[in-house]
């Protein structure tokens, strides 16, 4: 059966195919007050749901908050938490600040890069894991520290790191 011609059925209105991100952006905009001061919280909500802030969403957000596109783009690119391309399904953050450096976090990060075969800020080819440096998780008495999907780990040994990253790959996401 032929699908009804929606364009014609709606008269003169063109069909607006909404981008896949649209619903998430709308949810974020509905949830917070439409004031410029809510911008960062709105971006957090979008980032959390879509794992990035789609560049195409910037004018939509700007329009609703009565800001310029430049202002919104400026905020997205200023803060480390907001990404313009999607993070992997799992995010591994290894602390690289002084306290963790003092007990070998640079070496841990190098091992993680080797095991995942990506660089800092990189995402594995299958989109499973993103590796990011982070500058202090506030767990300095239990350095070295890291997080996986927000879960915090302290006194991380190379063996622990390997098994934690291995567990991510055993869920069938990271290709060896």
């Amino acid at each position: 059966m032929k699908a009804p011609d929606r364009q014609r059925s709606k008269g003169m209105l063109p069909v607006m195919t909404l981008a896949p991100w649209h619903a998430a952006v709308e949810r974020a905009l509905v949830r917070y007050e439409k004031r410029p001061s809510a911008l960062i919280q709105i971006l957090h909500a979008i980032q959390d749901e879509l794992r990035h802030v789609p560049p195409d969403a910037v004018p939509v957000i700007a329009n609703v908050l009565n800001l310029s596109r430049a202002e919104v783009h400026g905020v997205v690119t200023f803060y480390h938490d907001f990404k313009s391309t999607p993070l992997g399904r799992h995010v591994v953050r290894i602390c690289r600040a002084e306290s963790c450096q003092a007990v070998g976090s640079d070496m841990l990060a190098a091992r993680a890069r080797a095991q995942l075969r990506i660089g800092d800020h990189g995402t594995t080819a299958d989109g499973a894991v993103t590796l990011e440096p982070v500058y202090c998780l506030g767990n300095c008495a239990l350095s070295p520290a890291m997080t996986i999907d927000g879960e915090i780990y302290g006194r991380v040994t190379p063996e622990r790191l390997e098994s934690l990253l291995g567990a991510l790959s055993r869920t069938g996401t990271v290709q060896p």
Binding site: R35, P36, S37, A38, L39, I40, Q41, L43, H44, E71, G74, V75, F78, Y79, H80, D81, F82, A97, E98, S99, C100, Q101, A102, V103, V134, Y135, C136, L137, G138, N139, C140, A141, L142, S143, A145, G150, I152, Y153, G154, R155
Partner: protein
């Protein structure tokens, strides 16, 4: 019913506290014993986390570090009656690390259930606010001034003076902002307060609101602290329900609303004016001063912006009096400072003491030396902008003025230890690199200087491995350039990031010249 304490502090969680709590619940159910598990904050003895405590009639006894696998043997040994086990630590309060502290600001952290208002009230909670409500606002400011409290975020500006300025500024709307963007490596005392005793911060902010006539407060919390966020929200909710926040607080005419706003991963937002920009939803760009935030702060209105520890120290000052607090400490550094031992240290954790304790006492008597067992070669105090301090200066007392006299700073009280494997030239490079990553970009010395700084240190690192006159010449000229660059950044930057990032670099050069391939300087007289 026996109360068993298993921390919900994120440090404890990072080493398995959640699994331990679950195992205790399962084990006690299987044995049919009546146990209430209280999720407290951490006592700050992190090498013993997860530390489980049991409440006996004689007081609390501790076990640690406990793993989920130990739980069944702990019950076997009579955990609920304080039975002896290989992990027994005895009475918690008698553990020397804790017993020798002077906990004023962090008095309740690790002791109470952080989100129980009843628990908070039963431990002298809200006595400071009750005292404040009976006073004229000017009197509150006067008490805070007399206490000698100085900004614990790092700048050490007298808190009472800041409050006085904001109180005197005429405006229809004023704000209290708590700086909870604790970004300095080696620091976690703000996090411990927020996760372990959030009501003390809420109470401190409410007293501040009364003092200057503010009706709205924000806690600007870094996004790296999701656990603190949860605890704060639970506590704020409880305070609202019980009339400690909102309108007519405790039946007075005080109206104060409080909310938490989350940052987005930017170290610079710990700088007060960048923080205000971020709270307004903008890029965290540093503002020019003046105007001071106390006169034109958030949304252009008079705003008090104080660190978590500063605000959390206010309730006890109002409760016990300015003199009580001022009697701790020495010189112009009054009261106590929650110091944090981190990095390559055996017994990392929180040590709240009066100002005046020496670095050596902290590193060895409390910290137990390095974790690696090697000699401690250097410590960095005060975060990524703090100087590196060599062993020869470990007898310096921790107080603002003594540290300034050795070209160092106390900052937020974080102490990061490094053993003798540390490469100080590498640390100098990192200081510049961190500044380059986190610079807001508003002023040139910080934005460009930090990047050039990384390049210059890289040239030193490259030449250091070579021998011959050309390499020596390269190092010599690069060091001259590096010092010159540091001078420009110190003198020309808009805020402390660019203005102080050179301190770790210069202190590394000064105290550890050999790491840069340059001969030791003549001993300073």
């Amino acid at each position: 019913m026996t109360r068993v304490f298993v921390p919900r502090d994120s440090g404890a969680l990072s080493v398995g506290a959640e699994e331990v709590a679950r195992a205790i619940a399962i084990e006690s159910a299987a044995r049919g014993v009546d146990v209430t598990i209280v999720r407290n904050g951490s006592r700050g003895l992190y090498w013993l986390e997860p530390m489980v405590e049991v409440e006996l009639e004689s007081g609390r006894v501790a076990y640690g570090p406990v793993s989920a696998d130990d739980v069944s043997s702990l019950f076997e040994a009579g955990l609920l009656t304080g039975g002896t086990h290989a992990l027994s630590l005895g009475a918690t309060d008698a553990i020397p690390y804790l017993a020798r502290q002077e906990r004023l600001t962090c008095a309740r952290v690790g002791i109470i259930d952080p989100v129980s208002l009843e628990d908070y009230e039963a431990h002298q909670g809200y006595r400071g606010l009750r005292a404040a409500l009976a006073l004229a606002p000017e009197k509150i400011v006067e008490i805070v001034t007399t206490s000698g409290l100085r900004g614990r975020g790092g700048a050490a500006f007298p808190t009472g003076i800041k409050w006085k300025t904001a109180a005197a500024a005429p405006a229809t709307q004023k704000y209290i902002v708590c700086n909870a963007d604790e970004g300095d490596s080696g620091t976690f005392s703000d996090r411990m307060i927020m996760e372990g005793d959030p009501f003390v911060l809420i109470e401190g902010m409410t007293i501040a609101a009364r003092a200057i006539g503010a009706t709205k407060g924000y806690i600007y919390l870094r996004s790296e602290y999701p656990h603190a966020h949860r605890v704060l929200n639970e506590a704020i909710q409880a305070a609202v329900e019980r009339g400690y926040l909102g309108e007519r607080i405790l039946g007075s005419d005080l109206h104060f609303d409080l909310e938490v706003q989350i940052g987005a991963g930017a170290y610079i937002c710990g700088e007060e004016t960048a923080l205000l920009e971020s709270l307004e939803g903008k890029r965290g760009m540093v503002r020019f001063k003046p105007p001071l935030p106390a006169i034109e702060g958030l949304f252009g209105k008079p705003t008090i912006i104080n660190n978590v520890i500063s605000l959390a120290s206010v309730p006890i000052i109002l409760d016990r009096g300015a003199e009580y607090y001022r009697d701790y400490g020495l010189g112009r550094s009054r009261g106590t400072l929650p110091m944090q031992l981190a990095g390559n240290i055996k017994h990392g954790g929180l040590v709240e003491k009066a100002f005046g304790v020496t670095l050596r006492e902290l590193l060895y008597d409390y910290g137990g030396g390095s974790q690696s067992g090697r000699p401690i070669r250097a410590v960095q105090v005060g975060g990524p902008l703090g100087a590196f301090i060599p062993e020869a200066q470990f007898d310096t007392p921790m107080d603002y003025e003594s540290f300034i006299s050795i070209d160092a700073m106390v900052g937020h009280g974080g102490i990061v230890a490094f053993d003798d494997t540390v490469d100080m030239a590498h640390m100098a490079r990192y200081a510049m690199e961190f500044c380059a990553i986190e610079s807001c970009g508003k002023c040139t010395p910080c934005r460009i200087g930090s990047t050039r700084g990384v390049e210059v240190v890289d040239r030193i690192l490259a030449a250091r491995g070579e021998s011959g006159a050309a390499a020596e010449e390269q190092i010599e000229s690069s060091v001259v350039l590096l010092r010159d660059l540091c001078d420009t950044m110190v003198a020309g930057s808009l805020c402390a990031l660019g203005g102080m990032a050179p301190f770790p670099v210069l202190s590394a050069l000064h105290h550890f010249p050999g790491d840069f391939g340059i001969p030791s300087l003549a001993p300073v007289a």
